[in-house]
Protein backbone atom coordinates (compact mmCIF):
# COMPACT_ATOMS: atom_id res chain seq x y z
CA UNK A 1 0.00 0.00 0.00
CA UNK A 2 2.77 2.42 0.99
CA UNK A 3 4.60 1.73 -2.23
CA UNK A 4 1.71 3.12 -4.19
CA UNK A 5 1.16 6.06 -2.00
CA UNK A 6 1.43 9.17 -4.04
CA UNK A 7 1.22 11.45 -1.10
CA UNK A 8 4.37 13.48 -1.47
CA UNK A 9 3.93 15.52 1.68
CA UNK A 10 6.86 14.90 4.07
CA UNK A 11 6.15 12.68 7.03
CA UNK A 12 6.82 13.93 10.55
CA UNK A 13 6.79 11.75 13.71
CA UNK A 14 5.42 13.69 16.66
CA UNK A 15 5.94 12.36 20.21
CA UNK A 16 4.41 14.32 23.10
CA UNK A 17 2.64 12.98 26.18
CA UNK A 18 0.45 16.03 26.64
CA UNK A 19 -2.62 15.40 24.53
CA UNK A 20 -3.57 19.02 23.96
CA UNK A 21 -0.14 20.13 22.84
CA UNK A 22 0.24 17.11 20.58
CA UNK A 23 -3.09 17.74 18.93
CA UNK A 24 -2.31 21.41 18.45
CA UNK A 25 1.09 20.70 16.89
CA UNK A 26 -0.41 18.08 14.59
CA UNK A 27 -3.07 20.53 13.50
CA UNK A 28 -0.54 23.21 12.68
CA UNK A 29 1.91 20.86 10.98
CA UNK A 30 -0.82 19.34 8.84
CA UNK A 31 -1.90 22.84 7.96
CA UNK A 32 1.66 23.50 6.83
CA UNK A 33 1.53 20.52 4.55
CA UNK A 34 3.10 17.78 6.63
CA UNK A 35 1.84 14.29 7.22
CA UNK A 36 1.90 13.78 11.01
CA UNK A 37 2.19 10.48 12.89
CA UNK A 38 1.33 10.98 16.56
CA UNK A 39 2.85 9.08 19.48
CA UNK A 40 2.19 9.71 23.18
CA UNK A 41 5.33 8.04 24.52
CA UNK A 42 8.91 7.19 23.65
CA UNK A 43 8.34 3.48 23.11
CA UNK A 44 5.69 4.15 20.49
CA UNK A 45 8.02 6.61 18.77
CA UNK A 46 10.81 4.03 18.66
CA UNK A 47 8.41 1.50 17.09
CA UNK A 48 7.39 3.95 14.38
CA UNK A 49 11.01 4.83 13.70
CA UNK A 50 11.83 1.16 13.16
CA UNK A 51 8.83 0.57 10.91
CA UNK A 52 8.77 3.75 8.88
CA UNK A 53 11.24 4.53 6.10
CA UNK A 54 10.56 7.98 4.86
CA UNK A 55 10.56 10.12 7.97
CA UNK A 56 11.39 13.72 7.18
CA UNK A 57 11.76 14.75 10.81
CA UNK A 58 11.03 13.68 14.36
CA UNK A 59 9.61 16.08 16.93
CA UNK A 60 9.89 14.66 20.41
CA UNK A 61 9.34 15.83 23.94
CA UNK A 62 12.26 15.00 26.19
CA UNK A 63 10.18 14.09 29.21
CA UNK A 64 7.69 11.33 28.58
CA UNK A 65 6.48 8.41 30.64
CA UNK A 66 8.34 5.17 30.09
CA UNK A 67 10.95 6.16 27.54
CA UNK A 68 12.03 9.81 27.30
CA UNK A 69 13.20 11.67 24.22
CA UNK A 70 16.86 11.33 25.16
CA UNK A 71 16.63 7.53 25.45
CA UNK A 72 14.94 7.30 22.05
CA UNK A 73 17.75 9.42 20.62
CA UNK A 74 20.40 7.26 22.24
CA UNK A 75 18.88 4.05 20.87
CA UNK A 76 18.23 5.46 17.42
CA UNK A 77 21.57 7.18 16.74
CA UNK A 78 23.31 4.00 15.62
CA UNK A 79 20.68 3.08 13.03
CA UNK A 80 21.66 3.39 9.39
CA UNK A 81 18.65 5.45 8.44
CA UNK A 82 19.11 8.82 10.03
CA UNK A 83 16.41 11.43 10.36
CA UNK A 84 16.67 14.79 12.11
CA UNK A 85 15.36 15.09 15.69
CA UNK A 86 13.80 18.24 17.07
CA UNK A 87 13.62 18.02 20.86
CA UNK A 88 11.16 19.98 22.96
CA UNK A 89 11.88 20.65 26.62
CA UNK A 90 10.60 22.68 29.47
CA UNK A 91 13.80 22.22 31.48
CA UNK A 92 15.61 24.71 29.32
CA UNK A 93 18.95 24.39 31.05
CA UNK A 94 22.28 24.25 29.21
CA UNK A 95 22.96 20.73 30.44
CA UNK A 96 19.84 19.26 28.88
CA UNK A 97 20.47 21.05 25.59
CA UNK A 98 24.07 19.82 25.41
CA UNK A 99 23.07 16.29 26.30
CA UNK A 100 20.46 16.23 23.53
CA UNK A 101 22.87 17.65 20.97
CA UNK A 102 25.56 15.16 21.97
CA UNK A 103 23.08 12.38 21.30
CA UNK A 104 22.48 13.77 17.82
CA UNK A 105 19.51 16.08 18.15
CA UNK A 106 19.35 18.55 15.23
CA UNK A 107 17.54 21.21 17.25
CA UNK A 108 16.43 21.70 20.86
CA UNK A 109 13.55 24.07 21.49
CA UNK A 110 12.34 25.40 24.84
CA UNK A 111 8.73 25.27 25.85
CA UNK A 112 6.73 27.39 25.47
CA UNK A 113 7.59 28.06 21.82
CA UNK A 114 5.92 29.92 18.98
CA UNK A 115 4.04 27.65 16.55
CA UNK A 116 5.42 29.50 13.53
CA UNK A 117 8.89 29.10 14.95
CA UNK A 118 8.30 25.35 15.18
CA UNK A 119 7.07 25.19 11.53
CA UNK A 120 10.10 27.17 10.41
CA UNK A 121 12.34 24.86 12.38
CA UNK A 122 10.77 21.76 10.82
CA UNK A 123 11.14 23.24 7.32
CA UNK A 124 14.75 24.18 7.94
CA UNK A 125 15.61 20.79 9.36
CA UNK A 126 13.88 18.93 6.49
CA UNK A 127 15.67 21.07 3.91
CA UNK A 128 19.03 20.51 5.55
CA UNK A 129 18.35 16.78 5.71
CA UNK A 130 17.41 16.66 2.03
CA UNK A 131 20.61 18.50 1.14
CA UNK A 132 22.84 16.16 3.13
CA UNK A 133 20.97 13.12 1.71
CA UNK A 134 21.45 14.56 -1.77
CA UNK A 135 25.17 15.01 -1.20
CA UNK A 136 25.40 11.42 0.07
CA UNK A 137 23.56 10.10 -2.97
Amino acid sequence: MEAFCLDLSPRVLLAEDDHELRELLALVLEGAGYQVVQCDNGLQLLGHLERTDDVAAVISDLRMPGLGGLEVLARHRHRSRQCPFICMTAFGDELTHNRARQLGAAEVINKPFDLDEMIALVERVCLRNQETSGVKQ
Binding site: D18, E20, L24, G68, A90, F91, P112, L115
Partner: protein, 492 residues
Protein backbone atom coordinates in the same frame (compact mmCIF):
# COMPACT_ATOMS: atom_id res chain seq x y z
CA UNK B 1 -1.04 32.49 113.74
CA UNK B 2 0.70 29.59 115.37
CA UNK B 3 3.70 31.80 116.05
CA UNK B 4 1.47 34.38 117.71
CA UNK B 5 -0.02 31.68 119.93
CA UNK B 6 3.45 30.48 120.89
CA UNK B 7 4.66 33.95 121.78
CA UNK B 8 1.44 34.69 123.67
CA UNK B 9 1.70 31.50 125.70
CA UNK B 10 5.35 32.20 126.53
CA UNK B 11 4.55 35.76 127.64
CA UNK B 12 1.52 34.57 129.63
CA UNK B 13 3.60 31.93 131.35
CA UNK B 14 6.13 34.59 132.35
CA UNK B 15 3.43 36.92 133.63
CA UNK B 16 1.74 34.16 135.62
CA UNK B 17 5.07 33.10 137.11
CA UNK B 18 6.02 36.64 138.17
CA UNK B 19 2.53 37.34 139.54
CA UNK B 20 2.52 34.07 141.48
CA UNK B 21 5.91 34.65 143.06
CA UNK B 22 4.99 38.22 143.91
CA UNK B 23 1.64 37.17 145.40
CA UNK B 24 3.22 34.37 147.40
CA UNK B 25 5.81 36.69 148.87
CA UNK B 26 3.21 39.36 149.64
CA UNK B 27 1.00 36.88 151.41
CA UNK B 28 3.92 35.48 153.39
CA UNK B 29 4.93 38.97 154.45
CA UNK B 30 1.42 39.82 155.48
CA UNK B 31 1.19 36.62 157.47
CA UNK B 32 4.40 37.40 159.30
CA UNK B 33 3.15 40.89 159.98
CA UNK B 34 -0.17 39.64 161.31
CA UNK B 35 1.63 37.13 163.52
CA UNK B 36 3.92 39.81 164.85
CA UNK B 37 0.99 42.12 165.57
CA UNK B 38 -0.98 39.41 167.32
CA UNK B 39 2.01 38.39 169.36
CA UNK B 40 2.71 41.98 170.44
CA UNK B 41 -0.92 42.47 171.36
CA UNK B 42 -0.94 39.24 173.43
CA UNK B 43 2.24 40.27 175.19
CA UNK B 44 0.79 43.65 176.12
CA UNK B 45 -2.35 42.08 177.49
CA UNK B 46 -0.30 39.42 179.30
CA UNK B 47 2.02 42.00 180.87
CA UNK B 48 -0.94 44.04 182.12
CA UNK B 49 -2.53 40.90 183.52
CA UNK B 50 0.75 39.76 185.12
CA UNK B 51 1.17 43.06 187.03
CA UNK B 52 -2.33 42.69 188.45
CA UNK B 53 -1.95 38.94 189.21
CA UNK B 54 1.36 39.46 191.05
CA UNK B 55 -0.10 42.33 193.02
CA UNK B 56 -3.23 40.39 193.93
CA UNK B 57 -1.15 37.34 194.85
CA UNK B 58 0.88 39.42 197.31
CA UNK B 59 -2.08 41.21 198.87
CA UNK B 60 -4.90 38.66 198.86
CA UNK B 61 -3.32 35.36 198.04
CA UNK B 62 -3.40 32.78 195.26
CA UNK B 63 -7.17 32.28 195.22
CA UNK B 64 -7.90 35.92 194.48
CA UNK B 65 -5.40 36.10 191.60
CA UNK B 66 -6.78 32.91 190.01
CA UNK B 67 -10.31 34.26 190.28
CA UNK B 68 -9.13 37.45 188.61
CA UNK B 69 -7.66 35.52 185.73
CA UNK B 70 -10.91 33.61 185.25
CA UNK B 71 -12.79 36.87 185.12
CA UNK B 72 -10.25 38.38 182.78
CA UNK B 73 -10.67 35.38 180.51
CA UNK B 74 -14.30 36.16 180.06
CA UNK B 75 -13.43 39.70 178.94
CA UNK B 76 -11.54 38.52 175.77
CA UNK B 77 -13.46 36.81 173.11
CA UNK B 78 -10.56 35.81 170.85
CA UNK B 79 -7.97 35.11 173.47
CA UNK B 80 -8.01 32.38 176.08
CA UNK B 81 -6.21 33.33 179.30
CA UNK B 82 -5.12 30.56 181.70
CA UNK B 83 -2.85 30.01 184.70
CA UNK B 84 -0.31 27.18 184.27
CA UNK B 85 2.46 25.73 186.45
CA UNK B 86 5.81 25.10 184.82
CA UNK B 87 6.14 21.72 186.41
CA UNK B 88 5.85 18.11 185.33
CA UNK B 89 3.12 15.69 186.39
CA UNK B 90 0.29 18.13 187.05
CA UNK B 91 -3.31 17.83 185.82
CA UNK B 92 -3.95 19.03 182.26
CA UNK B 93 -5.95 22.04 183.38
CA UNK B 94 -2.86 23.72 184.85
CA UNK B 95 -0.35 22.26 182.40
CA UNK B 96 1.02 24.26 179.39
CA UNK B 97 -0.20 23.15 175.95
CA UNK B 98 3.36 22.63 174.77
CA UNK B 99 6.05 20.44 176.34
CA UNK B 100 8.07 22.13 179.06
CA UNK B 101 11.26 21.76 177.03
CA UNK B 102 9.96 24.60 174.77
CA UNK B 103 9.54 26.86 177.80
CA UNK B 104 12.98 26.72 179.40
CA UNK B 105 13.58 30.43 178.82
CA UNK B 106 10.74 31.25 181.23
CA UNK B 107 13.17 30.50 184.07
CA UNK B 108 15.25 33.46 182.88
CA UNK B 109 12.13 35.65 183.22
CA UNK B 110 11.73 35.90 179.47
CA UNK B 111 8.37 35.92 177.74
CA UNK B 112 7.99 33.04 175.26
CA UNK B 113 5.88 33.20 172.10
CA UNK B 114 5.34 30.18 169.87
CA UNK B 115 2.97 28.53 167.43
CA UNK B 116 1.34 25.25 168.22
CA UNK B 117 -1.22 23.02 166.65
CA UNK B 118 -4.07 21.51 168.64
CA UNK B 119 -5.16 17.87 168.36
CA UNK B 120 -7.98 19.04 166.06
CA UNK B 121 -5.43 20.53 163.69
CA UNK B 122 -6.09 24.16 164.59
CA UNK B 123 -3.18 26.57 164.87
CA UNK B 124 -2.70 28.66 167.98
CA UNK B 125 -0.40 31.48 168.90
CA UNK B 126 0.73 30.82 172.47
CA UNK B 127 2.30 33.49 174.68
CA UNK B 128 3.73 32.59 178.11
CA UNK B 129 4.65 35.23 180.70
CA UNK B 130 6.56 33.83 183.74
CA UNK B 131 5.34 34.58 187.26
CA UNK B 132 7.60 33.73 190.24
CA UNK B 133 5.23 33.03 193.11
CA UNK B 134 6.11 33.87 196.68
CA UNK B 135 6.17 30.12 197.41
CA UNK B 136 9.07 29.74 195.02
CA UNK B 137 7.16 27.77 192.36
CA UNK B 138 7.28 29.03 188.76
CA UNK B 139 3.96 29.65 187.08
CA UNK B 140 2.98 31.42 183.92
CA UNK B 141 0.07 33.22 182.35
CA UNK B 142 -0.79 31.43 179.09
CA UNK B 143 -2.55 33.41 176.35
CA UNK B 144 -3.68 31.25 173.45
CA UNK B 145 -5.14 32.88 170.37
CA UNK B 146 -6.68 30.95 167.47
CA UNK B 147 -5.03 31.61 164.06
CA UNK B 148 -8.19 30.72 162.11
CA UNK B 149 -8.89 34.34 161.40
CA UNK B 150 -5.46 34.81 159.95
CA UNK B 151 -5.87 31.66 157.84
CA UNK B 152 -9.13 32.99 156.50
CA UNK B 153 -7.40 36.23 155.65
CA UNK B 154 -4.58 34.43 153.82
CA UNK B 155 -7.10 32.29 151.97
CA UNK B 156 -8.90 35.39 150.87
CA UNK B 157 -5.63 36.95 149.70
CA UNK B 158 -4.78 33.82 147.77
CA UNK B 159 -8.20 33.77 146.11
CA UNK B 160 -7.82 37.41 145.10
CA UNK B 161 -4.37 36.85 143.68
CA UNK B 162 -5.60 33.87 141.71
CA UNK B 163 -8.50 35.94 140.44
CA UNK B 164 -6.20 38.76 139.37
CA UNK B 165 -3.82 36.33 137.65
CA UNK B 166 -6.70 34.57 135.88
CA UNK B 167 -8.22 37.84 134.74
CA UNK B 168 -4.84 39.06 133.52
CA UNK B 169 -4.29 35.85 131.58
CA UNK B 170 -7.72 35.96 129.97
CA UNK B 171 -7.56 39.64 129.06
CA UNK B 172 -3.96 39.23 127.91
CA UNK B 173 -4.93 36.32 125.69
CA UNK B 174 -7.86 38.20 124.22
CA UNK B 175 -5.72 41.24 123.59
CA UNK B 176 -2.89 39.22 122.07
CA UNK B 177 -5.38 37.34 119.88
CA UNK B 178 -6.92 40.57 118.62
CA UNK B 179 -3.64 42.42 118.15
CA UNK B 180 -1.88 39.32 116.83
CA UNK B 181 -4.55 38.95 114.20
CA UNK B 182 -4.31 42.61 113.21
CA UNK B 183 -0.54 43.07 113.41
CA UNK B 184 0.69 39.59 112.48
CA UNK B 185 -2.11 37.41 111.11
CA UNK B 186 -3.43 39.77 108.43
CA UNK B 187 -0.11 40.87 106.91
CA UNK B 188 1.09 37.28 107.16
CA UNK B 189 -1.93 36.06 105.21
CA UNK B 190 -1.41 38.75 102.58
CA UNK B 191 2.27 37.91 102.19
CA UNK B 192 1.56 34.20 102.04
CA UNK B 193 -1.14 34.67 99.39
CA UNK B 194 1.25 36.85 97.37
CA UNK B 195 4.05 34.28 97.67
CA UNK B 196 1.66 31.57 96.51
CA UNK B 197 0.49 33.72 93.57
CA UNK B 198 4.09 34.33 92.53
CA UNK B 199 4.78 30.62 92.97
CA UNK B 200 2.07 29.76 90.46
CA UNK B 201 3.47 32.30 87.99
CA UNK B 202 0.86 35.01 88.52
CA UNK B 203 2.84 38.24 88.72
CA UNK B 204 -0.08 40.54 87.97
CA UNK B 205 -0.99 41.89 91.42
CA UNK B 206 1.40 43.58 93.83
CA UNK B 207 1.20 43.64 97.62
CA UNK B 208 1.99 46.77 99.62
CA UNK B 209 1.82 46.78 103.41
CA UNK B 210 1.87 50.20 105.04
CA UNK B 211 4.00 50.97 108.07
CA UNK B 212 7.63 50.39 108.84
CA UNK B 213 7.62 47.02 110.60
CA UNK B 214 9.28 43.82 109.45
CA UNK B 215 6.21 42.78 107.47
CA UNK B 216 6.28 46.03 105.52
CA UNK B 217 9.98 45.44 104.80
CA UNK B 218 9.27 41.88 103.71
CA UNK B 219 6.43 43.05 101.47
CA UNK B 220 8.81 45.56 99.89
CA UNK B 221 11.32 42.78 99.27
CA UNK B 222 8.63 40.53 97.77
CA UNK B 223 7.45 43.42 95.61
CA UNK B 224 10.96 44.00 94.27
CA UNK B 225 11.31 40.27 93.63
CA UNK B 226 7.99 40.28 91.75
CA UNK B 227 9.10 43.19 89.59
CA UNK B 228 12.37 41.43 88.80
CA UNK B 229 10.47 38.26 87.92
CA UNK B 230 8.13 40.22 85.67
CA UNK B 231 11.11 41.78 83.92
CA UNK B 232 12.84 38.41 83.61
CA UNK B 233 9.71 36.84 82.19
CA UNK B 234 9.22 39.64 79.70
CA UNK B 235 12.84 39.34 78.62
CA UNK B 236 12.43 35.60 78.28
CA UNK B 237 9.24 35.98 76.29
CA UNK B 238 10.92 38.46 73.99
CA UNK B 239 13.86 36.12 73.52
CA UNK B 240 11.53 33.19 72.83
CA UNK B 241 9.51 35.24 70.37
CA UNK B 242 12.69 36.32 68.61
CA UNK B 243 13.89 32.73 68.51
CA UNK B 244 10.58 31.50 67.11
CA UNK B 245 10.61 34.25 64.53
CA UNK B 246 14.16 33.43 63.49
CA UNK B 247 13.31 29.74 63.27
CA UNK B 248 10.21 30.54 61.26
CA UNK B 249 12.26 32.68 58.87
CA UNK B 250 14.80 29.92 58.51
CA UNK B 251 12.08 27.39 57.82
CA UNK B 252 10.50 29.65 55.29
CA UNK B 253 13.74 30.15 53.42
CA UNK B 254 14.29 26.41 53.47
CA UNK B 255 10.78 25.99 52.11
CA UNK B 256 11.67 28.35 49.28
CA UNK B 257 14.88 26.38 48.70
CA UNK B 258 12.80 23.21 48.43
CA UNK B 259 10.59 25.07 46.01
CA UNK B 260 13.69 25.91 43.97
CA UNK B 261 14.52 22.23 43.80
CA UNK B 262 11.00 21.51 42.64
CA UNK B 263 10.98 24.35 40.14
CA UNK B 264 12.58 22.44 37.28
CA UNK B 265 9.71 19.98 37.36
CA UNK B 266 7.22 22.76 37.79
CA UNK B 267 8.62 24.54 34.72
CA UNK B 268 7.52 21.61 32.63
CA UNK B 269 4.16 21.52 34.32
CA UNK B 270 3.64 25.17 33.43
CA UNK B 271 5.54 25.27 30.14
CA UNK B 272 3.35 22.73 28.35
CA UNK B 273 -0.05 24.32 29.04
CA UNK B 274 1.46 27.73 28.32
CA UNK B 275 2.58 26.39 24.97
CA UNK B 276 -0.92 25.13 24.22
CA UNK B 277 -2.48 28.44 25.20
CA UNK B 278 -0.08 30.48 23.07
CA UNK B 279 -0.55 28.16 20.11
CA UNK B 280 -4.34 28.08 20.35
CA UNK B 281 -4.47 31.85 20.63
CA UNK B 282 -2.38 32.17 17.51
CA UNK B 283 -4.60 29.69 15.67
CA UNK B 284 -7.65 31.74 16.54
CA UNK B 285 -6.04 34.80 15.03
CA UNK B 286 -5.54 33.22 11.65
CA UNK B 287 -7.84 33.90 8.76
CA UNK B 288 -10.35 31.37 7.55
CA UNK B 289 -10.82 29.55 10.83
CA UNK B 290 -14.30 28.17 11.32
CA UNK B 291 -16.35 29.36 14.30
CA UNK B 292 -16.40 25.76 15.59
CA UNK B 293 -12.58 25.66 15.64
CA UNK B 294 -12.45 29.02 17.40
CA UNK B 295 -14.85 27.74 20.06
CA UNK B 296 -12.82 24.58 20.53
CA UNK B 297 -9.58 26.55 20.87
CA UNK B 298 -11.23 28.85 23.40
CA UNK B 299 -12.36 25.85 25.47
CA UNK B 300 -8.88 24.34 25.39
CA UNK B 301 -7.31 27.69 26.40
CA UNK B 302 -9.71 27.86 29.33
CA UNK B 303 -8.91 24.32 30.42
CA UNK B 304 -5.16 24.89 30.20
CA UNK B 305 -5.44 28.13 32.14
CA UNK B 306 -7.35 26.24 34.85
CA UNK B 307 -4.65 23.62 34.91
CA UNK B 308 -1.97 26.28 35.39
CA UNK B 309 -4.01 27.97 38.10
CA UNK B 310 -4.18 24.68 39.96
CA UNK B 311 -0.41 24.28 39.79
CA UNK B 312 0.13 27.86 40.94
CA UNK B 313 -2.19 27.34 43.89
CA UNK B 314 -0.27 24.25 44.98
CA UNK B 315 2.99 26.12 44.80
CA UNK B 316 1.65 29.11 46.67
CA UNK B 317 0.06 27.06 49.41
CA UNK B 318 3.37 25.35 49.96
CA UNK B 319 5.48 28.49 49.80
CA UNK B 320 3.23 30.64 51.95
CA UNK B 321 4.52 31.32 55.42
CA UNK B 322 1.73 30.17 57.69
CA UNK B 323 1.05 30.02 61.40
CA UNK B 324 2.04 26.67 62.81
CA UNK B 325 -1.29 25.06 63.56
CA UNK B 326 -1.48 21.55 64.89
CA UNK B 327 -4.67 19.62 64.43
CA UNK B 328 -5.61 15.98 64.01
CA UNK B 329 -4.90 14.97 60.42
CA UNK B 330 -4.98 11.68 58.51
CA UNK B 331 -1.52 10.39 57.69
CA UNK B 332 -2.48 9.27 54.20
CA UNK B 333 -3.70 12.78 53.39
CA UNK B 334 -0.30 14.23 54.33
CA UNK B 335 1.35 11.63 52.10
CA UNK B 336 -0.93 12.42 49.16
CA UNK B 337 -0.35 16.13 49.61
CA UNK B 338 3.31 15.96 48.57
CA UNK B 339 2.74 13.98 45.36
CA UNK B 340 1.55 16.76 43.03
CA UNK B 341 4.55 18.88 44.00
CA UNK B 342 6.97 16.01 43.53
CA UNK B 343 5.57 14.34 40.42
CA UNK B 344 7.41 16.48 37.83
CA UNK B 345 10.75 16.01 39.58
CA UNK B 346 10.19 12.26 39.75
CA UNK B 347 9.51 12.25 36.02
CA UNK B 348 12.52 14.34 35.23
CA UNK B 349 14.88 12.23 37.32
CA UNK B 350 13.40 8.95 36.09
CA UNK B 351 12.52 7.90 39.62
CA UNK B 352 9.60 5.62 40.36
CA UNK B 353 7.82 6.35 43.60
CA UNK B 354 6.03 3.46 45.20
CA UNK B 355 3.39 4.69 47.60
CA UNK B 356 2.35 2.44 50.47
CA UNK B 357 -0.40 4.56 51.81
CA UNK B 358 -1.32 4.49 55.46
CA UNK B 359 -4.67 2.98 56.28
CA UNK B 360 -7.49 5.41 56.91
CA UNK B 361 -8.00 6.38 60.52
CA UNK B 362 -4.29 6.63 61.27
CA UNK B 363 -4.24 10.14 62.68
CA UNK B 364 -1.50 12.37 64.03
CA UNK B 365 -1.89 15.77 65.64
CA UNK B 366 0.26 17.88 63.39
CA UNK B 367 0.76 20.89 61.20
CA UNK B 368 0.21 19.21 57.84
CA UNK B 369 2.18 21.81 55.87
CA UNK B 370 5.22 21.37 58.12
CA UNK B 371 5.09 17.58 57.86
CA UNK B 372 4.81 17.82 54.08
CA UNK B 373 7.93 19.97 54.19
CA UNK B 374 9.67 17.16 56.12
CA UNK B 375 8.52 14.51 53.64
CA UNK B 376 9.50 16.66 50.63
CA UNK B 377 12.96 17.15 52.12
CA UNK B 378 13.42 13.42 52.60
CA UNK B 379 11.97 12.55 49.19
CA UNK B 380 14.05 15.14 47.33
CA UNK B 381 17.16 13.89 49.12
CA UNK B 382 16.25 10.36 48.07
CA UNK B 383 15.78 11.47 44.46
CA UNK B 384 19.16 13.21 44.54
CA UNK B 385 20.72 10.04 45.93
CA UNK B 386 19.62 8.28 42.72
CA UNK B 387 21.19 10.34 39.90
CA UNK B 388 20.59 7.54 37.42
CA UNK B 389 17.02 6.97 38.43
CA UNK B 390 15.59 4.06 40.33
CA UNK B 391 12.73 3.44 42.64
CA UNK B 392 11.90 4.60 46.12
CA UNK B 393 9.12 3.98 48.59
CA UNK B 394 7.03 6.28 50.71
CA UNK B 395 5.23 4.24 53.34
CA UNK B 396 3.01 5.11 56.29
CA UNK B 397 2.09 2.61 58.97
CA UNK B 398 1.46 2.24 62.70
CA UNK B 399 4.67 1.39 64.55
CA UNK B 400 3.77 -0.05 67.96
CA UNK B 401 7.25 -1.46 68.53
CA UNK B 402 9.15 1.73 67.82
CA UNK B 403 11.82 2.46 70.39
CA UNK B 404 11.87 6.19 71.11
CA UNK B 405 15.00 8.02 72.28
CA UNK B 406 15.34 8.18 76.07
CA UNK B 407 13.98 11.70 76.40
CA UNK B 408 10.73 10.63 74.74
CA UNK B 409 10.37 7.32 76.54
CA UNK B 410 6.72 6.94 77.47
CA UNK B 411 5.52 3.39 77.68
CA UNK B 412 1.92 4.29 76.88
CA UNK B 413 2.63 6.27 73.73
CA UNK B 414 1.84 4.63 70.40
CA UNK B 415 3.67 5.71 67.29
CA UNK B 416 3.10 6.22 63.59
CA UNK B 417 5.93 5.82 61.10
CA UNK B 418 6.38 7.63 57.79
CA UNK B 419 9.21 5.98 55.94
CA UNK B 420 11.17 7.06 52.86
CA UNK B 421 13.37 4.32 51.43
CA UNK B 422 15.58 4.75 48.38
CA UNK B 423 17.95 2.58 46.38
CA UNK B 424 20.45 5.37 46.06
CA UNK B 425 24.10 5.82 46.86
CA UNK B 426 23.64 5.46 50.62
CA UNK B 427 25.80 7.13 53.23
CA UNK B 428 29.00 6.24 55.04
CA UNK B 429 28.81 6.11 58.86
CA UNK B 430 30.86 9.33 59.22
CA UNK B 431 28.37 11.16 57.00
CA UNK B 432 25.44 9.58 58.80
CA UNK B 433 26.65 11.03 62.09
CA UNK B 434 26.33 14.59 60.83
CA UNK B 435 23.30 14.57 58.56
CA UNK B 436 21.07 16.39 61.09
CA UNK B 437 23.73 19.06 61.82
CA UNK B 438 22.81 22.47 60.45
CA UNK B 439 24.75 23.48 57.30
CA UNK B 440 26.15 19.99 56.85
CA UNK B 441 25.86 19.05 53.19
CA UNK B 442 27.45 16.61 50.80
CA UNK B 443 25.98 18.39 47.80
CA UNK B 444 27.84 20.82 45.55
CA UNK B 445 27.79 24.53 46.25
CA UNK B 446 24.41 25.92 45.27
CA UNK B 447 22.75 22.52 45.30
CA UNK B 448 21.68 22.50 48.93
CA UNK B 449 21.64 24.71 51.99
CA UNK B 450 22.57 21.96 54.43
CA UNK B 451 19.57 22.96 56.51
CA UNK B 452 16.90 20.65 55.11
CA UNK B 453 17.43 17.68 57.42
CA UNK B 454 18.19 19.76 60.50
CA UNK B 455 14.98 21.72 59.98
CA UNK B 456 13.08 18.49 59.30
CA UNK B 457 14.41 17.10 62.56
CA UNK B 458 13.38 20.27 64.40
CA UNK B 459 9.86 20.05 63.01
CA UNK B 460 9.52 16.38 63.93
CA UNK B 461 10.85 17.05 67.43
CA UNK B 462 8.32 19.83 67.86
CA UNK B 463 5.65 17.29 67.02
CA UNK B 464 6.92 15.05 69.82
CA UNK B 465 8.61 12.59 67.49
CA UNK B 466 12.04 11.69 66.12
CA UNK B 467 13.77 10.54 62.93
CA UNK B 468 15.69 7.28 62.57
CA UNK B 469 18.10 6.63 59.70
CA UNK B 470 19.52 3.45 58.30
CA UNK B 471 21.95 3.60 55.42
CA UNK B 472 24.49 1.46 53.64
CA UNK B 473 26.83 2.84 51.02
CA UNK B 474 25.87 1.54 47.59
CA UNK B 475 22.58 0.07 48.72
CA UNK B 476 20.45 3.00 49.77
CA UNK B 477 19.02 4.79 52.76
CA UNK B 478 15.88 4.61 54.80
CA UNK B 479 14.55 7.55 56.82
CA UNK B 480 11.80 6.81 59.35
CA UNK B 481 9.81 9.67 60.81
CA UNK B 482 8.08 8.63 64.04
CA UNK B 483 5.17 10.69 65.32
CA UNK B 484 2.85 10.18 68.30
CA UNK B 485 -0.40 8.53 67.28
CA UNK B 486 -3.34 10.79 67.96
CA UNK B 487 -6.02 8.87 69.80
CA UNK B 488 -9.59 9.84 70.42
CA UNK B 489 -9.67 13.13 68.53
CA UNK B 490 -11.68 13.76 65.43
CA UNK B 491 -9.84 13.56 62.19
CA UNK B 492 -9.62 16.71 60.13
Amino acid sequence: MRLTIKITLAVMFGIVLIFSVYSYQSIEREREQIKRNLSREARHIGESLRVIVVELWHQRGQEASMAFLDRANQGYSDTLVRWVWIEEGLPEAVQPRVPLSHLERLAQEETVTLMAASAEGQDYLLTYLPVFTPTGRIGAIELSESMEEMHDYVQESLRRSALVIGASVVSGLLMMAALGSIWVGRPMRQLRAQAERIGTGDFSAGVNLSGSDEFAELSGTIERMREQLVQAREAEQEATAAKIEALEKLRHSERLATLGQLSAGMAHELGTPLNVIAGRAKLMGREGISPADIARSATIIHEQAERMTGIMRQLLSFARRGEARKQPVEVHLIMRGVLPLLEPTLHKQQVQLRLEEAQEGLVVCADAAQLQQVLLNLLLNAIQAMPDGGSMTLAGYPAPRAKPPEDLADSDQRWVCLQVTDQGTGMAPEVLRHIFDPFFTTKDVGQGTGLGLSIAYGIVQEHGGWIDVESEPGKGSSFSVYLPLHVGGRQS
